[in-house]
Every structure is written in structure tokens, then in C-alpha cells.
Symmetry: C2
Subunit: 532 residues, 2 copies
């Protein structure tokens, strides 16, 4: 069943609902409310201060929406202030906020209990700084101009005992410290675990940017014509082999990441619902860390291809892609640098590897490395005949095999360096860092491919299922159906705003390209529109 | 011999002179004059109009320098206005210029003689538009904010006959057309050939951005410390394996491209000196097209790694890398999209291939494809034993072999499609486009590697030669010598301006990291400074 909404350019289809998942109705409602607000018109002519003010207004608008208010009433808050104890840089809202959540070493009677989170008042209601608090504005960045990042420093600022957030530890009136977690290291890990939801949120942000960029680049590629056979009409640029070979893998990845991030989100919900501590769910922490790295890198690569595939038009701010690139560039080093995130993944993989062989430390069972390399995995790999190379099952097994080989190889290398050569663990690990990163990416690629395949299997509408299967197997037909997929991303025209995607813009009428026609579909949607 | 110039942070060494080539003295003079001018302080707080005015002032300053004035007196001008006959978009200086060089179809008595270049007055000295001329401002872009790109349209604008630039064709007072080149197609190619120097200039611009980005990222990596063995001092981040594995290949590529672009520049000079027409030097056109594509893509990839390797600091405008990224992003689609540039390379390679076998058309000799695949090249490849894999000679032969295999394969595919299957050439070529792009890159990689190897061979100072050889072979020692190389790029501190590279900046004192110490070198330079 399709419903055309001519005003906002949103067309709900079975596929768009499948991609949105259980919360499709809520998402649609929010999409519409944001698309209809003039606050969300893109602006390129504002000074830094004006842009920061606009961002503040946008945030207020979103927080005031009934659906968001309701969600806040129902939600477990998690403090997300990034912990950079050395310099306290990059604090968002540092130039306007009234309170800061500060991670600091809790020292009682000269003894440190590790970092804890404190609520520190920094400004009064009129914006005057409290004594001992100093804020430095970090000013101009590559993007995210609406966010006022700054540096806070504290000089002997006194706060009441109650301002310690006491989930992991508290101090009694007579100065006695108590905590449900004994070691300071474990308490620190518990606090770092609280970053998991933020990291997953970054994956969703990266996905949003990818989907918007792909929508613009694919619509333009189906509209703009260039080159062609002699004395005939020029072809649509999507027909150029390099154009679809560059864009289609990103489209498939955007879908794969949609399903994988939903899977991680469901695991997180499950933990929250059962009131379990995230710190005990290390596989989830590792999954989210890996997803954060993969999705934010993939987003940059995708947006760069979208920019290049739209030529000079893609360099114009009005066409959105440059702004998306500059704003999301920081994601790859933010909330945990991607290279560090991949190391989190591998530490968990090695821990699992050890448990699997029921020995510890990590390198226990690696002594029989020589016997394990020629195991059944390799045999099953070689059992495939070459004509099956394109099949999904082969591909799934191949990526699984790659991961296992990398995992065993890394464990063997570390075992040799640390146990045999007696190298310091830091240097041993560092000399394998390229291997570590490769393994982590192989792992997250495998998980993502599996989740994509599972989602396609569970898709209820056969036509949608075939379309997703085409994307999953990346066959050449995909380019013609790509318009259907980006339209199922369900981004309102008012949110797309790019004239090259067929959305008129009075500030850049010269950049307008008519919206592309999906062949075979145009009649259907005309009929539906006529009925409404 | 070394000369320390403490004020400007420039230290001339034998290596810096070798990297600068014959014109090292002129380059140094220009570097100093630009570094000393306050006009070139980076500004991030300006509106679009203010940024455009500043850019105009900077241009006037450079054009007024005696060395530049002298160069203009000695130089063959070439009109570089990009030819986009459909829309006339992206015209630089469209909002301020008095004249435009316009490529338009020359139609005499209803017959087109192909595109020619005309000088059209667009504004008077007071900035008023002439009748029939309209300019549309393209406004906000990802970068290059100082360049006012616009769209010009002409409605029956009359210009005198003499305003036709008549290098390739002229019109007599009685309306007769004459040209030294007979076919309109050949005349069009002659005009496109005039883009060659501009494309080479883009390679130099990309190189400049890479060198600056690398200087900043490598200096910071040798200064900032993070992580380390337990209970010991944290290590410099350059020590992290991922950090040097990401940065060192870019440093090597920057050197390789320095020598290859110089080689192309010398070929171009040679032609200009002998007053030869560029149109007849198709190998040079293809080399420059390939270099443009390779260097501009490599620049983006390099700057992205520099940005990520400097973390959140690299996201701050004051640290220069974001601005370099945004400004040079357009190079990959500007003055000929990179994918189109690579097709120029391959058309020339196929033409050479045909000539080599003294047959035409292109696909002539491919009939004996089956006999040629097993030729001596393959044999010579397999003759290498595996222990030589790291040697330069092996590497040179390997990239040569890869190129030849790709070339033969492509020729065979095209021959089969066009001659046997009778496919239209456009569709046959399009279906091989990925192969075409791969071949073109293989070609330009081979040429670049060869030029790098030749330059290292000709390096007069043994110590410099060994250092360059390390970069060429990318051995692990390189990271420690990387500081020497970036210092030989000879970029004045006033031009670097980034506080994370150890250049104090009062606007961002919080970002300052002390300049890195080159071990073993610090004493030498201290001594030299003491003498001055």
C-alpha cells in the first residue's frame, strides 16, 4: 500500500516501513514535524554566533515536541560528557551551559578512588561564570558550526558532596567512600561502558548522513545526462559504469548498516529493559565500538563519492553534500578514535577466543597453533567450486573464514612475542596494530553482512525482498532500482533541500534538475496522487 | 651547508634544494615574501564578501612582486577559461571581472566552425554590467571562499570581429573564415590541449596542500604523546604502528609526485621553448591528465589521513588541515573530472599500443592475442625468486607487468566487443570503464615510481640519497627521518601557522604543542643559530 504525500515529498511504501522498523510511525511523525519547521532551512550566510543561536533554537524546538517529551518521561539518563581528563577540550555547549558533568579523580584523604562524575555549576542564569571556572572558546572548526566547543578549567572550585553522581560510588557525610564495584579499574570500565549508547547514536548519525547524501547523488545521477553514443541523446550519468560502481556499494552498505545498527539497538534495549549493567555486556560494547568505526568511515567514503559523482554541483553548499561531509568528518575520531575502537573489538575477540578453548591467559591454547591452521574451516572453504563464487552462502563463509584466519594469526603472533620473546605487551600489541585493525574490520564486516542477510530473509513483502537481495548481492540491475531504495529512506523534500535532487530552491534556481522518473512507477504514483 | 633562519622557520638544506630543483632560489624568495606579508594570515571570521575582497588583495600583492612581474614579461599566455558550453557555470571572478574569455560555436552564414574563444566585455570600470550580459552568483561552496564563482549568460551581445582569439582560426572583414587546422574536431582538440598547463598547475597545487598537511601532521605526531608501556612515559604518537603506516606512504607519494610533476613540467617547457603546439604532444597531454587525477585524489586521501591522525585537533580550522581539505576537494572534478582524465590516458595508451604493432585501427593486432599473453613479460615476472620481493627492481618490473597485462586485456576486450560483437563503441567502452580506470592508474603509478627512482639515482648528496631511498622503499626506519623530509619542504612557519605543528598562535594558544626535536639534529641547528 502506498500513500503519496505531495507536499513533503514523502511516499510511504512497504519497503520504507521495513527499513524504518518497528518505530516507523514515530519516525514519520518526527520527520514531518522537523521538515515543516522553517527553523530547519539550511543557512550558509550566518556568522559563528548566529549559527550557534540557530542550533540552540533547533534543539529547543526538538525538545519541545510532544513525542520527544514523552520519550524523556519514559527513559535510563546516561551522562555523555566525553572524558578527556588531561585537557577537558571539545566540551559541547561550553560557552553557554549552566552546568557541566565533569569526570575527575576522586581523592579522599590523599587516596584516589579513580575517576568519578561530578555536576559542577559553571555559570549562573545570567551567563556569568562562577569563581574559579574558566571557559575558552575553541571557535572555528571544519563543521558543526552550531556546536560551541570549548575548554573548561577549574581552579579550586568547591561543590557540595551531593554533586557526585553516585551510581558507581558515593561518599558519606563523614567522608567514607563506598562503592558496589571494588577495583578502581573496574569502576573506570563501568563509566566507559556508559559511552556505548552515544557511540551507537553516532552510527545512527552517520547512517542519516549517508542516506541523505545517497538520495541526492542517486536522484541527480538519474536526472543529469552527459556523453553518449554518436548522434544520439546523451545518457543519464547513472549509466556510466564508474558512476554506478561507485554509488551502489555505498547504497548496499547503508542498508546493511541499517539492519546491523538496529540489531545492536535491540540488544541495548534488552539490557536497559532488564536493568542490566552495560559493563557486563562486553560483546555489545565491542559490537558498538566496531560499528561506530565502520559506519563513520564508510559514511565519509560514501559522502566523498557522492560529492565527486555530482561534480562541481556537489561542491556547492546548497546541494548539501559538502555540509554533510564537514559536519560528520569529526565522527571518525570523536567519542573514541576509530583506531582505538577497533582495538576494543579485538580485545573482546581475543577474550572470546581464549574462553572458547577454556584456557587463560589469552594465549593459552595457541601452543597447538600448527595443528589448528589446517582445520575444517580451510577445508570447507576449498570445497566450493568456482561457479559458486557469486553466491551469498559462499560469500558469508568466505568472510567468516577470513576473520578466523586473522584471529588465529594474531593470537599466535602475540603469543610468540609476549610468551616466547618476553616482549612488553604494549610493544608487542603495537607491532601487530595493522593486523589488529584488519581483524576488527573483518569481524565487523562479517557481522554486518550476516545481519543484512538475516534482514533480507525476514522481509515480509516478496517484491521488497527481491530488491534487497539484489542490493545484497550487488548485481548490475541495482542501479535502476536505486531510486526506489532511496525513496524508501523516506526523507522529506524539505529535509533534502538540494536542488540537484529535484527540490526547487529560490536561492539557487540555476542548480535545479527535475526530479528523476522511476520507470514504470510514474503512472502508479500519478494515479495515487489523483485519488488523494 | 645549512642556513638557519630562525624568524621564518625556514632551514635550507641540500635536501630542500634538491626537492625544490633548479628554481630553488626563486622559490625561496617568493616563499619569504609571501610569509612576511600580513595579508596571508589565515582568517576564519570573514563573511563571503570580505573573504573575496581579501583574496583579491592577495592576488594583487602576488602580481606586484618583482619576480612575478618579471616572469610575466618573459612568458607564451594561454587562456584558461574552462569550456563548459552548456551552462557556463563555475566561472571564477564572474562577479567582479571586466572581461570574459568565452568559448562559443563560431557560426558563419549558418555553418558552424566549432568552438572558438572570444573576448567579451562584461562590465565597465565601475562594475556596471553591459547590456545583454547577466551574471548569477553561485555563492556558498565547500571551500575556496575567496573565489567568486558565477554563471554568465549572454543575450545577443555584439562584439567586434577582432575579439576572436585567432590562434586557431580567424575571420576576414568580408566574413571569410580561415584556419591552419582543417577539421573542426582537430581545432577543438587544439583548444582542449591548451588546458594542459592548467592541469599541471593543479598537480602543483595538490602537492602544495599535501606537503603542508604532512608537515603539520608529522610535526604533531613527533610531539604529542599518548599511551605507552605500563608505568612508563607515554610514547610519541608517531610510534603507534597505525600512525606511521598511515602517514609514511603519503610522504613517499608526495616526493614521488614532486619529481614526476617536475618531469612533466620540463617536457612542457621544452615544447614552449621550441614553440611547438601542445596539440601534437599527445603523450604529454596524457601524462598531465593522469598526473592531475592521481595527484588530486592522493592529496584528498593524504589530507584525510592527516586530519584523522591529528584527532580532534585536526578538526580545528586554526590547525589548517580542514581548510586545505575543503579548498582542494574540488580539484578532483575541476578542469576535467578525474574519471574523464583517466580515459584520456588510456586513449593514448591504446593509440601507442596500436602504433607499436604498426597496424590500425586500434584493435588491429589483437587477433593474435592468444599468442601474446604468454610472452616474455610473464616469463620475466615469474623468474624472480620470492626473496627479491622487497627489492626496487622487482617492484618496478611488477608494476610494469601489471600495466602491460591490463593494457593487452583491455585492447582484447574492446576488440571483441566492437569488431566481433559489433557493439556501439560508446557502450563497449562504457562497459569496460572500470578496466580503463584501473589501467590508467596502473600506468601513472608506474611512471611515478620510475621518476622517483630516477630522481633518487641522480641525487648528488649521499646522505640525502639514502634518505630518499628509504622513502622509496618505505622501510620502517622512515618515521624517524620524516621530520627531516618535511623540513626540506621548506615551508616558512608563517605559512604553516598551525599551533599543533609548534607554531604559536595567539588566537588558539590552547592548541600549541612544542616543535618536535629531531634527535641528533638539535645540537647542530643550535650551533648554527648561535653563529648567526
Amino acid at each position: 500500500m502506498e500513500r503519496g504525500d505531495a507536499d513533503l515529498g514523502v511516499k510511504q511504501t512497504s519497503l520504507s516501513r521495513f527499513l524504518d522498523g518497528d518505530f516507523w510511525a514515530v519516525k514519520n511523525e518526527l520527520r514531518m514535524q522537523i521538515a515543516e519547521s522553517p527553523l530547519f532551512q539550511q543557512r550558509y550566510d550566518l556568522s559563528l554566533d548566529e549559527m550557534r543561536d540557530l542550533t540552540f533554537e533547533r534543539l529547543k524546538f526538538i525538545l519541545s515536541l510532544p513525542l520527544v517529551q514523552q520519550a524523556f518521561r519514559e527513559m535510563e539518563f546516561i551522562i555523555n560528557t566525553p572524558c578527556d581528563s588531561a585537557a577537558k577540550m571539545y566540551i559541547g555547549n561550553a560557552m553557554k551551559g549552566n552546568y557541566a558533568a565533569v569526570f575527575a579523580q576522586l581523592i579522599i584523604n590523599g587516596k584516589s578512588q579513580g575517576p568519578h562524575c561530578f555536576i559542577v555549576p559553571i555559570r549562573d542564569q545570567n551567563g556569568n561564570m562562577y569563581p574559579g571556572v574558566k571557559a575558552i572558546d575553541m571557535m572555528y572548526k571544519e563543521g558543526l558550526h552550531g556546536v560551541d566547543n570549548g575548554i573548561l578549567t577549574f581552579n579550586q572550585v568547591r561543590i557540595p558532596r551531593e554533586n557526585l553522581l553516585n551510581k558507581f560510588g558515593s561518599v558519606s557525610p563523614n567522608g567514607k567512600y563506598s562503592s558496589c564495584i571494588q577495583s578502581t579499574g573496574a569502576r573506570f570500565n563501568a563509566m566507559l561502558a556508559a559511552l556505548t549508547p552515544t557511540r551507537l547514536a553516532l552510527t545512527f548519525q552517520a547512517l542519516g548522513a549517508m542516506k541523505l547524501g545517497l538520495t541526492i547523488a542517486i536522484r541527480y545521477s538519474h536526472s543529469r545526462r552527459q556523453f553518449g553514443p554518436k548522434d544520439k541523446e546523451e545518457v543519464k550519468i547513472i549509466e556510466h559504469q564508474t558512476q554506478h560502481l561507485r554509488l551502489m556499494p555505498h547504497l548496499a552498505t547503508a542498508l546493511a548498516l541499517t539492519f546491523t545498527s538496529r540489531y545492536a539497538g535491540e540488544m541495548l534495549d534488552e539490557d536497559v529493559y532488564h536493568n542490566r549493567d552495560l559493563v557486563n555486556n562486553r560483546p555489545l560494547q565491542a559490537l558498538v565500538a566496531g560499528l561506530k568505526a565502520y559506519s563513520t568511515w564508510e559514511n565519509l567514503s560514501c559522502l566523498q563519492d557522492c560529492r565527486e559523482c555530482t561534480g562541481g554541483m556537489g561542491f556547492m553548499m546548497e546541494n548539501r553534500i559538502p555540509g554533510l561531509k564537514c559536519d560528520s568528518d569529526v565522527f571518525v575520531t570523536f567519542e573514541g578514535d576509530n583506531v582505538v575502537m577497533l582495538q576494543v573489538v579485538v580485545r573482546e575477540l581475543l577474550a572470546q577466543y581464549t574462553r572458547q578453548y577454556e584456557e587463560s591467559p589469552v594465549f593459552g591454547l595457541l601452543r597447538n597453533w600448527t595443528s589448528s591452521v589446517a582445520d575444517s574451516l580451510r577445508t570447507s572453504f576449498l570445497a566450493f567450486s568456482s561457479d559458486k563464487i557469486s553466491s551469498l552462502v559462499f560469500f558469508l563463509k568466505a568472510v567468516h573464514f577470513r576473520e578466523r584466519v586473522l584471529q588465529r594469526g594474531l593470537a599466535a603472533r602475540l603469543y610468540h612475542k609476549v610468551m616466547k620473546q618476553k616482549e612488553d605487551f604494549f610493544y608487542a600489541w603495537n607491532s601487530c596494530l595493522h593486523h589488529v585493525v584488519t581483524l576488527a574490520l573483518a569481524h565487523i564486516h562479517r557481522v554486518t553482512l550476516e545481519q543484512f542477510a538475516l534482514a533480507v530473509e525476514s522481509c515480509p513483502v516478496p517484491a521488497d525482498q527481491s530488491l534487497l537481495m539484489e542490493l545484497l548481492e550487488l548485481c548490475k540491475l541495482v542501479k535502476d532500482d536505486a531510486l526506489k531504495v532511496v525513496s524508501a529512506f523516506n526523507i522529506p523534500d524539505n529535509t533534502i533541500q538540494a536542488p540537484i535532487a529535484g527540490i526547487p530552491n529560490p536561492r539557487a534556481h540555476w542548480a535545479y534538475y527535475p526530479p528523476p522518473q522511476q520507470e514504470g512507477d510514474s503512472n502508479v504514483s500519478k494515479k495515487i496522487n489523483a485519488k488523494l
